[in-house]
Amino acid sequence: MKLPSGANMPIFVPSKIVTKLSNLSGWEQRGLTGCVAIITQPTIDALNPWIDKKTRNYSVAKTTTKALVGMTVGVSVRYLTEKISKILVENNILEIVKKDGIREITDKQFIKNLGIFFGVLACVFTNFIFDMPMTKAGINWCVEKFKLDKEPEKK
């Protein structure tokens, strides 16, 4: 296929996937990021060549726990804040602010935005109430379960 001079053949992507991705709510976005992070982050730490084996084990335990706890709490909090936002919008407690008399977003999108926003605010507290103690407990569990405090055997 010959295109006008200087033009490249575009990459055609399914717009359904793009639309689906762009319509993800706050908790779905956090869940997607968390799922990828649970796979990649501990793998990257396990392959870190610049630290000794014992520190590497601690690093992997810490990163895995952090990713798991972060995702669980993050998704739950955002899911709840979105539900609360829906109630607030449905009862006209919170309403869309029009710009020059034009409504720029739909109610559904507004609820999603409110959910993300309140989710971030809630994180100020949940990070310390849930994330911090759960991460600590998770690391301690890993230390005991996998005996990380023992010197690793040398091959």
Binding site: N8, V36, I51, K62, F128, D131
Partner: protein, 217 residues
């Protein structure tokens, strides 16, 4: 008090009525990562089960992780969002549903060079679809940017930087440790090869001799 609450409510609604979701994801995400960085660093600092030796690496790793996370999250999300907009604008990426329209129009217009790719979509339906795709692709790019930043770029960068700091620390001149004065019996052991006169002049008084009955003169 009521006026403050009403003002706050209005500002929240205004912020969330923001039409640009890409910017919204970036801003709220950055704040969120900054907050969780503080919590996770505390979780490592106040954990008694992690030995001090490992904390020396893990605490800076956590702080660096947070700083890099926030910076890279903002940068990569912004860049990829911009890239998404430019890619569609320049016709590098287009929706599959517009493939036939694009190829048909491109065949007809092979002798000219349209300034913008939307030239190919000359009826309202295809143009609407193109514009909608442009918007959604930019949001999806923003999200992809946030995933790449959090899950791949940050962990690699933080490990490199943590190692760099460790190397830098090891090259720094170490502080001289204060030396405790030697106890007299050690001095005696060291000086017993000396003659008595010399020994006394070095070690001291007759009280020392009575304190150490094993001392033979």
């Amino acid at each position: 008090m009521g006026a403050i609450a009403a003002g706050l409510k209005r500002e929240i609604c205004k912020f969330c009525s923001h039409a640009n979701m890409g910017d919204f994801i970036r801003t709220t995400g950055t704040i969120s990562w900054a907050l969780s960085c503080i919590a996770y660093t505390c979780a490592v600092i106040f954990n008694d089960k992690i030995p001090k030796e490992q904390k020396k690496f893990l605490v800076p790793q956590e702080i660096i992780d947070g700083a890099i996370n926030v910076t890279l999250y903002w940068t990569i999300t912004s860049r990829l969002k911009k890239f998404g907009e430019i890619a569609v604008d320049k016709g590098l990426v287009l929706p599959k549903s517009l493939k036939s329209t694009f190829l048909k129009e491109a065949k007809n217009a092979s002798h000219i060079k349209p300034a913008k790719v939307d030239w190919y979509f000359n009826n309202s339906t295809t143009l609407q679809e193109y514009l909608k795709f442009k918007k959604t692709f930019s949001i999806a790019s923003s999200l992809a940017g946030s995933i790449v930043a959090v899950a791949i770029v940050t962990p690699i960068t933080r490990n490199i930087v943590a190692k760099g700091i460790e190397v830098f620390k090891s090259k720094m001149p170490r502080k001289a440790q204060p030396v405790a004065p030697l106890p007299p019996y050690i001095l005696y052991e060291r000086k017993k090869s000396l003659t008595f006169d010399k020994y006394l002049s070095k070690v001291g008084t007759p009280e020392i001799r009575t304190s150490y009955p094993g001392l033979k003169i």
